[in-house]
């Protein structure tokens, strides 16, 4: 048994092309769209020799793999590592990286705290914060919309929704970045964030305790289910960790992406201004076009066949959600930003069993920011070059200089 990047190496299936590419390289991640075209163009699957993985960027194929959770499991890791041969840097997530029937228990517990009713109750908080931040920058000249709007907004609302009594802005953001990078290969990025992230871990452990949480937040709503016997104390702490790890980085990325989309598509911004009820759709469409979480993995646990390709046991399959969203077989004129498009079916939040349990919350956050822009800003002007930061899992901007007038 040969191990490559923390998982069992596989032979290239007969009728699959080999593509000698590094999907974690800066070149691939900084200008991903042509690479996604090539990924799809080379077939339903490609074999990537340097990592000994299979990859797919077709909407239909991604959907089929996600639907066949009996053979394509999450419990062996949703990143490139296989937990049967590689020990993870932390205890794997008890919701993302587990399979049914256990998964149903933790997902039900977490879902209960994130229902549309709960999220609707948070909307006034989100809107007030978005309005305040936008008011503060309109007509004030150039500013960097990533730290000063996307980050400040998310840090201002999300930890409050969870109920964290004390927030360390840098640590809560960095823990999320660490978690996502660490699901990739052992590259420079992973090593850098493991170093930087080390000091966030004790803070995170403390923040997941019941004493660290206000009684009216979503975190306490998790712990209440310990009182009723639905989950254990340890599970509750792990689920609060899942909240804090998954809830910040991708959301900051998402808010950055919609700001950038509106800044670079003045025609769509004009449409939004003439009909502010399109705010939610403008956010979803921005995330369709540039999915903040670009991929996830499943591990194949028995030889099987998917669209004519024999997938061997132990294969790690990279499902490019970002590419599936640009698949012309699913969306017409897929590379265009069109805020009136119907986006259901996009893979930005995954789909099915493991689909993002925070998606309604993320949408409510994004919608609040976009609605504030629609009402308060007449023009968004780019005042400098946007800077993207490649990450092993998340597509995000690190700088977006703009002026709102």
């Amino acid at each position: 048994m040969k191990i490559v990047e923390g998982h069992i190496a596989i032979e290239k299936p007969a009728n699959v092309e080999s593509w000698d590419v590094d999907p974690y390289s800066d070149e691939y991640l900084l200008n991903p769209v042509p690479n996604y075209r090539e990924l799809r163009g080379r077939g339903d699957f490609v074999y990537i020799p340097r990592y000994s993985i299979l990859a797919t960027g077709h909407h239909r194929v991604v959907g089929e793999i996600l639907a066949r959770q009996d053979v394509f499991v999450s419990s062996r890791g949703t990143g490139i590592n296989d937990y049967t041969v590689h020990e993870n840097w932390r205890k794997p997530s008890i919701i993302l990286e587990v399979d049914p029937p256990y998964h149903t228990r933790t997902r039900t517990a977490m879902m209960r705290t994130l229902t549309p009713n709960v999220v609707n109750g948070l909307k006034p908080l989100f809107q007030a914060e978005a309005d305040k931040l936008v008011d503060a920058v309109v007509g004030k000249g150039s500013f960097d919309a990533i730290p000063d709007l996307a980050e400040t907004f998310s840090v201002g609302v999300f930890p409050r929704a969870v109920g964290l009594k004390s927030v360390d802005r840098r640590k809560i953001i960095d823990y999320g970045i660490l978690t996502f990078n660490a699901s990739g290969p052992d590259n420079e990025r992973t090593r850098e964030w493991m170093r930087r992230g080390a000091e966030t871990i004790p803070w995170m452990t403390e923040s997941c305790k019941r004493e660290a949480l206000h009684p009216d937040g979503m975190g306490e709503a998790i712990y209440k289910q310990v009182d009723t016997g639905q989950i254990t104390d340890e599970e509750a702490a792990m689920l609060v960790r899942a909240f804090l790890a998954a809830g910040m980085d991708a959301t900051i990325a998402a808010v950055g992406i919609v700001l950038w989309s509106l800044a670079t598509n003045p025609g769509e911004f004009a449409k939004l201004k003439s009909d502010p009820s399109l705010a939610r759709a403008a956010f979803d469409e921005a995330l369709r076009l540039n999915a903040p979480v670009h991929h996830f993995y499943r591990t194949c646990i028995a030889d099987t066949e998917v669209s004519g390709v024999v997938i061997p046991e132990n294969a790690k399959v990279m499902m490019s959600y970002a590419s599936a969203n640009l698949d012309p077989a699913k969306f017409d004129d897929p590379e265009r930003y069109d805020i009136t498009r119907k986006t259901p079916g996009m893979m930005t939040f995954g789909t099915g069993l493991h689909s993002c349990v925070g998606q309604m919350l993320a949408r409510a956050e994004g919608e609040a920011v976009v609605a504030a822009l629609a009402r308060k800003v007449s023009r968004i002007e780019l005042t400098g070059e946007p800077v993207w930061r490649p990450n092993n899992f998340v597509r995000s901007l690190i700088s977006l200089p703009v002026a709102f007038s």
């Binding site: 997902r107 209960r112 549309p116 689909s355 993002c356």
Partner: protein
């Protein structure tokens, strides 16, 4: 292949042929039936694919999971005994002729 009829809030009927295993939500979406939003794409997270299953069919569909049951408390139109999330009902020959009523609003 089983058939399913959607009855809009103002009484218009659309009958469509489904594939076995397709969800009722998917049948509506691929055929452009109005009145279902399905924001989460079928993951039982958004409660915007709510339908009222016609009484004779209620017991023929597999019962709602615990998650679906909680989500049904979040629907925008009134919850009634036949209320279901259409993304959680899989079409099968047993459901041939299924009738579902669409609610006034989903959001």
């Amino acid at each position: 292949m089983p058939k399913v009829t959607f009855v809009s809030a103002d009484g218009r009927e659309t009958t469509l042929t489904a594939q076995n295993g397709q969800s009722v939500m998917q049948v509506a979406m691929v055929n452009g039936v109005e009145g279902i939003v399905a924001e989460c794409g079928g993951s039982a997270m958004c409660a915007t694919c709510h339908v009222y299953v016609d009484t004779p069919f209620v017991h023929l569909a597999a019962p709602a999971s615990e998650i679906e049951n909680e989500m049904l408390d979040c629907v925008a139109s009134q919850r009634r005994p036949g209320s279901r999330l259409s993304c959680q009902i899989q079409m099968s020959d047993a459901l041939d002729g299924l009738r579902v009523f669409l609610p006034e609003t989903q959001q």
